[in-house]
Symmetry: D3
Subunit: 239 residues, 6 copies
């Protein structure tokens, strides 16, 4: 079987990470995974949420949103419905957790870094692209803090990237595009560090349940994909 | 090592499912897992969301909420902040997905079943208790539809239940209570059918990442826990 | 004439007050009046509203809500409509006023007690049941403050309870259940202390106006009902 | 004892009802009770709420609001807090109930009359002034429907007016101005028809409870006040 | 051609400014331009927005709203839609800018003056009437501050007034009433000082574009109208 | 005097319009004016607002928003404050009016075109860049309708573009960047057709009023700027 866009089952789409995409944020990245395009901006602010007040520690949080026409049909803006889109809530919680897992709050000091992930074009895998891109924006912002002498050492303990995997027509596939995702039986997102450890595994068989064996095949694919993504993150950041 | 409440590592808390807890809903259950108590009400309504209109098919959805004082400190009500709690949004999406995975929409016909999961006392594991309890409420509501001659056959294809597992002090534990959950390094929720297949696996290592080996141990524990819960569901429903 | 459930005209439904129903609140009660069931939780917090700041005085307030399926048909949650239900607003203002009337703010000190009244099953008289139950929860919370040495004397000056009365088919009745209430011509709620004094009288003849004579008969019934309720409150609290 | 503004205990403030105050509404009135000024506009619309659909019957509802500077200090607008003021919610429910009690829905036909009561200057008794003024606006709107041949007979069965009474310094007083109201021990609002029957009695002793004897004295005062107000309503409407 | 209400092309409607219309605000005015009636209240508060904190400078802002039945058809209140009307937002920003242009923030000191412009009857030109009336209310409030010894000198540098002009049936007209405005091809609002200088020019040819020549004719008309309005403002304020 | 970026007083920044920037919308453009970057997407939908129902006519509307970090400091998202930014409301009303002025609703048929203008980087002149870019997106969407045989002729009557002009340090300047705009005494936006006619003129002298002479100089500059922009629009569209 050949995939809809001619890729191998374990092949990522073309990935491109453009640094310093927007000029104002402390860290800014445009990540493109095939036709999926997400602007990831990291903003550093000298405030922390109430539960971190006077702790000497910082915080990292994320917001995820899509432009109304990032998708085939136009979506009403959240503000017009006075309600944050439920899917966006779920996704931004995932992005926040994923990035916080590699942050040293003490080293960051009492400041908050907000990762704004705004999808300008969606073609599947926007949440994992957001994590992979936001990690680079986060590192850029931290490097700026270090260069500006505001912190003493990089507050990032590992590289982290994410990828989607899934089962389509009984085949385990890496990095699903929308056309694949929309008829996948099983849909999974994995967040993995450069040490090969898992930060998050989220697999859903809403259409049809899956076995331990299938789960393991999917995790293998995910590990392969993340390894490649982290290689690219390193190239971009060392550039 | 003995657990905080004296349980074995692979031991569930005492589980109790009370049928017909509230008199108005088509299906109603109080589920207690240790000190965690959730009212799960299933409401049948003769309407479907726009994307199911004139499809001959039904829909299942869930809403999750906690009473303000279900927890140690009082939480402001959602309506006072004009914002559904983000954690609740994430949880109710999970409950909905979990239950929809075993529903035959055609057999249900053009009606919506809403599962309201209201936590009156929270001591860890409220999302998995909600799934396990809501499944029973869902079956009760479907049985009523069948008994009333409104549907021809039960629109439920499998039993489904959920349990939390986690790593605390380097030990894999089943069914974490709040005291355990609050210092777990890894936190995972599994939703499994009576055929032993996975509907959802959600594992998070926000505090510390985890290995494939640990993931497998946690899944083993989860399978054991769900098996016992489904046994109880069957007893309650056949009663 | 015999009432729908066989009661005498001046007879209360079976009343049951369960103390310490939820484990976290400073005071917690489940009150059942026939099929009406309300969880009343009292939460003590070390903050006061702006108009009480630095006054040395405390405050008491109430919130009232119903679970979506506390009634025959499912009600949309407030948060889904982004609007507190108007009836709930009216009721929680009544509960707050009723309880504040017997509180000594100086003795309470600069803290707020919030009474959360959550109706889990509604069969008429939920607002008066909430007042009667919330009073017990309030006393329990104050006793805890006293036992913990945080206050010097009980800040409660009287017992207070409430009951509904109404005119159905030209008969004055005590403690209307929903079936009676829904075709009552006159509907009245009274809040009375253990000294037989009135805190609040609210009578409405939306369906048909009423005379001074009818008003007086209803007040007689209300006094009788509250007397019995306060007797029960005392038994529960002295238990 | 002489009252703050020299009135007798059972004396109304000067009352003035100006018809056709605003030119667009089907009925419009400015009511002034002393320094309290409320614009009461009645709007007729050819729609009914869902529960009246296809019933052949109409509906009457009210909205109450204050201009930000109707009071000594400026109040934030509801829309700035995204929340209808709780006190306004309680009041507009009272106004709606009071007016509906004298409306013949069949005679009105499937249309809704909305009574907008906007307080431009508040000096106590705004809710009762609103009811008294809105009744006149309602009658004007119904007369217009009759004159336009849209209805066959007046859908109003009685006159209705409202007044506040209260206990200040142990004296029962009629029609409290703000200076009196703000230190009243007992505060009561009565809504009474021209047949002397009660539509609504709302008495609150938040500051101090009251006896049956006091209640009866207050009702006597209220009956006297409403009688005078209805006389004025008749003069204005017959003019 | 004679205008709908018999006016000359360059003739204002009858203008009336009533001082001290509401008793509580520091400055209060009812402005009537023909059938358009707006209550303009100025409230002084001892607080400034965050960006003026500790600057020694004050702030001036405006809020604009219409009563639901200020217009031919009833408008839903903002709070019922949980959304400030977009047109009102645009208008209140214009009013605020217009008034701030003549305010000396230093002389005002760290306080905010809010101009509430509430339209009780709308017949065209409500935004310009609001500016003209609010300016008088603003001056009254400043005079009160001066008289009370709270400021040392008047913080107002010029008179300012506003008027609408437009092109109807190819004729340039001054001060359009609603009947004219509703079929105007070009609609313009000008805000001008007593020195003849422009504060704001807003011209829109949504129905049909306009030439420089037409623009100049409209500005001529606007200058004439504002001159007359400022003359009236002076009379009212010197009265 | 040389400008901050070395431009002549009557010189535009470098303008770039990229067609088909996002793949899903019926018309999509990235417009860059110097460092200002706006994505303009045109979405065609088969529905019209209520006031156009069954009229055979279409509608055009606009929404304007900025990414949180399009500016120097991060702005909170509208949805987090539950309130559309007031400035954005004003701007999107302007964009909508500007584009509607050149649309033939009959030729468009009963469909709505929504222009989403999302600023990803803001350096002054975002509202005029939005109009200029959105016009191109609108034409692209109409061309698609024509090519798809859904309409018979182009429903666009003129080209339209917009530019900002202003007075900085007593000099009239074309196309202000943020550094200039932030200390401009007078700020004006003009919307002009390819026939040289005005659609909208908005000039504000909040900092300092302006004369007729200055106004005329600014309009001259604006005409020159728009002429160049429309030339570019034509090149892009004919490409």
């Amino acid at each position: 079987m050949s995939r809809i866009d001619g890729r191998q089952k374990d092949e990522l789409r073309e990935v491109k990470i453009t640094k310093d995409f927007i000029k104002y944020p402390e860290g800014s990245v445009l990540i493109e995974m095939g036709e999926t395009k997400v602007i990831c901006n990291a903003s550093v602010e000298d405030r922390v949420p109430p539960f971190k007040k006077d702790s000497g520690e910082g915080w990292v949080t994320a917001e995820y949103s899509m432009l109304p026409r990032a998708t085939l049909d136009r979506n009403t803006r959240d503000i017009s419905r006075l309600k944050k889109n439920n899917r966006s809530v779920e996704i931004q919680r995932l992005i926040g957790r994923a990035l916080r897992s590699v942050v040293d709050y003490k080293a960051l000091g009492e400041r908050t870094i907000t990762l704004d992930c705004d999808v300008i074009q969606a073609d599947g895998g926007t949440r994992t692209a957001s994590i992979t891109g936001a990690f680079v924006a986060l590192v850029l912002a931290c490097k700026k803090l270090l260069n500006d002498g505001l912190i003493d050492k990089m507050p990032i303990s590992s590289y982290v990237a994410a990828i989607s995997v899934g089962i389509v027509d009984d085949e385990e596939l890496l990095d699903l595009c929308y056309a694949e995702d929309s008829h996948a039986k099983v849909d999974m997102n994995v967040v993995i560090t450069d040490k090969g450890e898992f930060i998050e595994v989220q697999g859903t068989g809403e259409e049809s349940p899956f076995t331990r064996e299938q789960l393991n095949k999917l995790l293998d694919l995910g590990e392969k994909g993340v390894e490649e993504l982290i290689k690219l993150q390193k190239e971009v950041l060392e550039d």
